[in-house]
Amino acid sequence: MSDAGAETIAVVAEHFDGKLRPITWELLGAARELQTRLPATVIAVVVGGDAIGLAAELAPAADETLAIETPNAVSYNGEVCGAVLAEALAERPAAFVLVANTTQGLDFAPALAVRLGAACVTAVEGFAFEDNGILFRRAAHGGKVVAVIRAEAPAVLAVQPGAFRRPDPSANGAGAMTVVRRLAAPARTRNLGVKRALAADGELANAEVVVAAGRGVKKREDLALVRETAALFSRAAVAGSRPLCDAGWLPYQRQVGATGATVAPKFYLACGISGAAQHVVGMRGAGFVAAVNRDPHAAIFNVADVCVVDDLAVFLPLFIAACRGAGKS
């Protein structure tokens, strides 16, 4: 049972195409973790054209649920979302407002913080409960280090997907639901529609092994080595991090990460990938991970089962040779 109290922790649900995104449940998990330190009521807030149905789905997992129906902004609109949330949170001030660290949450969170006079900490991946308050852990410098942030409440916190677990069903709250209707229409923005820019890549989605190239792949020859390495495995696909796709060396369909593909192969071999959160979010479900990077402090080694500190241009030819040699004997 939840430990409701005088304070409020607000969770802003993220939904897309009429469905709650998994991060919404993780936000509730994060709120429950904060609740162990701060006696508070966890209120889930859903904004959108179809807010009521989604709020009903969330209600059993929160202490209270607020559905803000916006019939004049059916799909996500940052202007309307920010305005109605600021209004709701002015009426019901929250010590912490938890939003998703996604292209949607990051779109409205800073403006919401400005309107509420709150701090804004993004990419939060953990809390540190200390004598003098609650601190927020977030990765910086390509994931090599973690900044532990002190922020005064009220604070808007954008929570990194995958950082918190869904709450235990036994932590279910009271489930009281309030519905309000806000007729605000966007005045200075106009939604022109969401379209699919990239078709999912079937070969990548079905691959059992993904060999991925990152910024450490400096030359076309290095990319050829990555392809040659992938050819050693059956059902393998070559993928990459954003810089490689921006450079035109791999199609965007092969980009693994937050705005690219999410993969969960049996084996993921990261070649010259730094391991920033934006990439890791797309591959952390892999069964077994090996990473090759010449920087011993590269963040990718924090999410790898096997670490090879080496230049991929030197390592991969020897690895290919070792596999081929073993195949012949």
Binding site: A113, C120, L192, F267, Q278
Partner: protein, 286 residues
């Protein structure tokens, strides 16, 4: 740096991007401000002891113009080429940040401004306040900045700046062009799952720009040399209003390890053989 010397800079540059302004027809003229940050290259050595982060020395190899901000600069220049107008670049940062401003300037900006701080400012809302104070009253139509800096990775300054100015904002933009009427921008935001969210924003507006397939232009050597020789307009950030500090770094810590991370040792050939064996034992390599 005054407008006059900006023009002089363009006149002096016989080649490269700085010359293109003359082609503009003036129908969609926009006055653009690009907010650029000098960032630490993620490959730079980084150490922390007792919770304090030791940045590498002030070295041109380690500090550079944030890649997304270079993309924002490229977008601004594309707007100027399409419809005419002006592009200013501004950066908040310590003295070394001047190099990033000069780099952006050499790409083809008309003016460069440095909001000088004693050290790197870790409160993004303070940075946004300074930028808002600077931009207010200067009649910009469009403010562009990178979607995120590659060192702090926060993505807060752009949208917070928009909120402080009371302007609409679109984040993670990968396409941006002037509307046919010229009073709005049409933007495509890159969102999760291979989708794009298209929207129109009335000017003035703030866009945060994501890197994409059109790489930022490379400044010509002449433009770089000229930019390096021209004095920047420097404004002491302490003279600009800022909100009370609401957040700060309490300490720096090691990144969390989520997997075992067995580090292979020996020669490169030995490591290659070891990895082959591990994968074979796991049935991943047959």
């Amino acid at each position: 740096m005054s407008t006059k010397s900006g023009r002089a800079l363009r006149r002096r540059c016989k080649t490269g991007n700085l010359k293109r302004r003359r082609q503009f027809k003036g129908t969609n003229r926009v006055k653009i401000l690009v907010c650029a940050k000098q960032t630490l290259d993620p490959e730079a050595p980084l150490r922390f002891t007792d919770g304090a982060l030791a940045l590498p020395p002030d070295d041109a190899d380690y500090f550079r113009l944030n890649p997304c901000d270079a993309q924002a600069m490229e977008t601004a220049l594309t707007f100027r080429e399409a419809g005419g107008g002006e592009v200013d670049v501004v950066s908040v940062g310590p003295p070394r940040a001047a190099r990033a401003i000069r780099r952006a300037w050499a790409m083809g900006a008309d003016r460069g401004f440095h909001l000088l701080t004693a050290a790197d400012e870790f409160d993004p809302l303070a940075v946004a306040s300074w930028l808002a104070a600077w931009a207010r009253g200067r009649a910009y139509d469009l403010i562009l900045t990178g979607a995120m800096s590659e060192d702090a990775m926060r993505g807060v300054v752009g949208p917070a700046l928009a909120a402080q100015l009371g302007w609409p904002c679109a984040t993670f933009a990968v396409e941006a062009k002037a509307s046919s009427a010229g009073d709005a921008v049409v933007v495509e935001r890159e969102i999760e799952g291979g989708f794009r969210d298209a929207l129109e924003l009335r000017l003035p507006a703030v866009l945060t720009i994501q890197t994409g397939p059109r790489p930022p232009r490379y400044p010509t050597l002449t433009a770089l040399l000229r930019a390096n020789q021209t004095p920047l307009a420097v404004i002491d950030a302490a003279t600009l209003p800022r909100p009370a500090r609401r957040q700060s770094v309490a300490r720096w810590a090691s990144a969390t390890k989520t997997r075992a991370g067995l580090t292979l040792t020996g020669t490169t050939a030995e490591k290659a053989e070891r990895l082959r064996r591990i994968l074979t034992e796991r049935g991943l390599l047959v």
